[in-house]
């Protein structure tokens, strides 16, 4: 059986210790050198970057997140032992782990590190599909001849380079499609390397929960529960037409996933589908002026990013989270795509007024989706709002001033609310 030492990268034929360096971090699998779809996920990325940059944090539980009221965005492994998880409300995390060091997070630093990791991945294959700052799919098909080494060796090299050159660890999943690669990368975190081969796919999935399926959210989960589908074995008992009748478009995908099949390709530069921004308040608020200020700032941020990417949105979304954590989401379609903050703001404002809920809220978000090219955006005026064209013109002028004199050179009074 092909084997690989994850420390010195020697390849050999089976064994529990490396014949070259004698260490036990050996990976062996019958299909080890045949598989080429991989998923790499950094281990506790934000927390690891913080620990790397501030060694005094090394042995302490570290939580990245916004203040007492936000949610945990990342917890280091020490904090995880105490039960802290991502997306957990901060007060709950601090109850579990009162001595945790809470770090606000330095997005610009993470973006920079992410760029460095991306560069390392680009050395392996041109087909890298980032999912977020700290994880990505890679398709290494056909690279064995280029590198003179099979994909598994190159992936182990990647993990080693991340540790030695960047001081960060990651976990890799290697399989024959994206779904299984993503499942595999989670199997022995941190510093993991897991393989799911073609031959063992069905056995591997059989008794596992369908919760493994990426993209199965609360709604699909509830629908699956109701249909009595808990494991992949349950799913296998369904015929394709039945699944489609019950779950719509998702049904077809479920049928294939039940058989460990996933035909989605790893896509470099997966297209952006939406641009959004949200903020959690220091304390719950129902104050219309404060909320108005937030809607404007969020709309402006979304518009700035849309302008930078040359995109425009046809749909505006407003998201509100009530004090009891219930989320309200409202959408409006526009007759033409826009990238003008004023238009996004006004649409979001109308949605806000139409919610008909007094609040208070703990979070507000604004976004655009159904993206189109900037050239198709904001081409017509509004008969019923003749000033709209003038306001859009003023906004373009403001953008030009900011580009020259900095982001604080000019702003709306509304932004100060």
């Amino acid at each position: 059986m092909p084997a690989l030492c994850r420390d010195c990268l020697t390849t050999f034929d089976a064994g529990t210790r490396c014949p070259a360096c004698g260490r036990p971090r050996v990976l062996s699998h019958p299909e080890l050198f045949d598989l080429s779809i991989a998923h790499m996920d950094c281990d506790a990325f934000y927390a690891s970057v913080e620990k790397r940059d501030d060694p005094s944090l090394r042995d302490q539980p570290v939580i990245i997140g916004g203040g007492r009221r936000g949610v945990v965005s990342t917890a280091c492994y020490i904090a995880r032992i105490r039960g802290v998880r991502s997306a957990m409300p901060m007060f709950q995390a601090l109850k579990l782990c009162p001595d945790a060091v809470v770090v606000k997070g330095r997005m610009s630093a993470y973006v920079e590190v992410s760029r460095q990791i991306r560069a390392l991945m680009d050395d392996l294959t041109p087909v890298v599909e980032p999912l977020s700052l700290d994880e990505a799919f890679m398709d290494l098909s056909g690279t064995a001849r280029l590198h003179g080494k099979p994909p598994a060796v190159m992936l182990a090299t990647l993990l080693r380079r991340m540790e030695t050159e960047l001081g960060l660890s990651g976990s890799v999943g290697l399989s024959h499609n994206k779904f299984l690669a993503k499942v595999a990368s989670d199997l022995d975190k941190p510093r993991g390397f897991s393989v799911i081969g073609l031959a063992e796919t069905q056995d591997f999935l059989r008794n596992r929960s369908v919760r493994l399926i990426w993209g199965v959210g609360g709604h699909t989960q509830a629908a699956l529960d109701q249909a009595g589908i808990r494991t992949f074995a349950d799913l296998l008992r369904w015929e394709k037409p039945q699944l489609v009748a019950r779950f719509g478009g998702m049904g077809d995908r479920l049928w294939h996933l039940a058989r460990g099949e996933d035909r989605r390709l790893v896509q470099r530069n997966a297209p952006v589908k939406s641009i959004s921004n949200e903020t959690t308040f220091g304390e719950d608020t129902a104050d219309a002026d404060i909320l108005d200020g937030h809607i404007w700032r969020l709309a402006e941020n979304v518009a700035d990013r849309a302008k930078a990417k040359g995109k425009a949105g046809r749909t505006v979304t407003l998201k509100l989270k009530r004090a009891n954590h219930r989320i309200l989401s409202r959408q409006a379609s526009l007759t033409e795509p826009t990238q003008i903050a004023d238009r996004i703001y006004r649409t979001a404002r109308t949605l806000f007024e139409q919610v008909g809920d007094e609040g208070p809220y703990r979070l507000i978000g604004v976004g655009i989706s159904h993206l189109a090219e900037a050239a198709d955006a904001d081409t017509g005026g509004d008969l019923l709002d003749p000033q709209a064209v003038k306001r859009a013109g003023a906004e373009r002028a403001t953008d030009a001033i900011r580009a020259r004199f900095g982001p604080d050179a000019i702003m709306k009074g509304r932004a100060l609310r």
Partner: protein
């Protein structure tokens, strides 16, 4: 309940009723049609809580009574029965079933009690008048294309039907706009319509109403209150809530000072616009109109798909002008013109343009240009 009815009459009545029923429905009774047999006729009633349709058909009623049954299933059954069949319908309250018999076909359908069926509350109408179907058809057909689908501007999601002053007399007027184009259609004010409150007739109601207006000689009884509108023919009554909102002051939108006048054969113009728009990758792409003395050049330039140009002989005697429009909007407006030439009145490339049929000011359209 028991009655016999000719299949064609039944199909017509049920078809109108079932089209009101919302396909996606969380309240089971709203998927049903209420069947009431009494005297020598049967009525079929369906509602989505905003619109109610009652359709009456003559029938041989053996036993009066009423029940409700799934509208779509019932309609499908009747549709598939052979033409000319005599259909016997028997409701059995005890078993909560409705049997439908025709020739050798026999169906038994589940019913829901009629008490559960929401019947729209009757209301006092401030105005009751009669209007020829032909007049209403023109008012709504020529305005409905401009109805907005933007839900944030819900008050634009219908046709604003109201009484207006025009040229020193009162007219019955329908206006619709989505902010990009506007249609304003006038008709002679029917007798007794003078005190009608202005109402916004929802898009779906406009669609259902259209089915009542096919007969040129028919007269429609129209009733209007602040909250409801009703259109009735001898057989069919369509009652609808109106949109609870204020229609914007559209009079400011209609340009009065546009002086550059283009006159063009509407059909030729529409065909040319359609042809050049073919190369644009999106239907929303701009068509450029370049006007010079008696000459119009239509062009589309879509960087990723190609370019097109077409020249038309027109009547134009003002200074040269270049102006862009959404091809779809231009086509929709041009297709409203059916008798005479289309007359466009422009101001500048950034200002709203007015279009009408010849010098007929009872139907005017406004369209917003787009940058090209």
């Amino acid at each position: 309940m028991e009655f016999s009815i000719e299949r064609a009459a039944l199909l017509k009545a049920v078809a109108q009723a079932q089209s009101v029923v919302e396909r996606r429905n969380t309240i089971p009774i709203l998927a049903n049609v209420l069947i009431e047999a009494e005297g020598d006729s049967v009525s079929f009633r369906a509602t989505d809580l905003d619109i109610e349709v009652v359709d009456q058909a003559p029938a041989k009623v053996v036993r009066a009574g009423s029940t409700t049954v799934n509208a779509v299933t019932f309609h499908e059954i009747v549709r598939k029965l052979p033409d000319g069949a005599l259909v016997t319908i028997i409701g059995d309250t005890a078993s909560a079933r409705l049997s439908v018999e025709a020739g050798r076909s026999n169906f038994s359908l589940a019913t829901l009690p009629r008490e559960d069926f929401p019947v729209m509350a009757s209301s006092e109408y401030e105005a009751n008048f009669a209007a020829p179907a032909k007049v209403l058809r023109r008012l709504f057909d020529k305005s409905k294309f401009a109805i907005s689908t933007e839900e944030t501007r819900y008050y634009l999601n219908g046709v604003y039907m109201h009484v207006a002053d025009f040229d020193g007399r009162q007219v019955l007027r329908c206006v619709a706009t989505d902010g990009h184009r506007l249609a304003r259609i006038d008709a002679e004010l029917p007798e007794n319509a003078g005190n009608m409150p202005g109402v916004i007739v929802p898009r779906k109601t406009v669609g259902e109403l259209r089915k009542l207006l096919d007969d040129d000689d028919a007269t429609i009884a129209v009733s209007v209150s602040e909250t409801k509108v009703r259109f009735a023919t001898p057989g069919i009554t369509l009652t609808s809530k109106v949109i609870d909102g204020t229609f914007p002051d559209y009079s400011r939108v209609i340009p009065v000072g546009n002086t550059k006048r283009l006159e063009v054969d509407a059909a030729d113009f529409a065909q040319a616009v359609d042809r050049v728009a073919t190369v644009s990758s999106e239907r929303s792409r701009a068509v450029k109109l370049a006007l010079d003395e008696d000459r119009l050049v239509l062009s589309v330039n879509a960087p990723d798909s190609g370019a097109a140009e077409e020249e038309l002989a027109v009547a134009y005697a003002d200074e040269p002008l270049e102006i862009g429009f959404n091809a779809k909007y231009l086509l929709e407006i041009a297709s409203q013109v059916d008798r005479e030439n289309a007359v466009f009145l422009f101001n500048s490339a950034g200002d709203p343009t007015l279009m009408r049929e010849g010098n007929d000011e009872t139907a005017v359209y406004v369209v917003m240009p787009m940058r090209v």
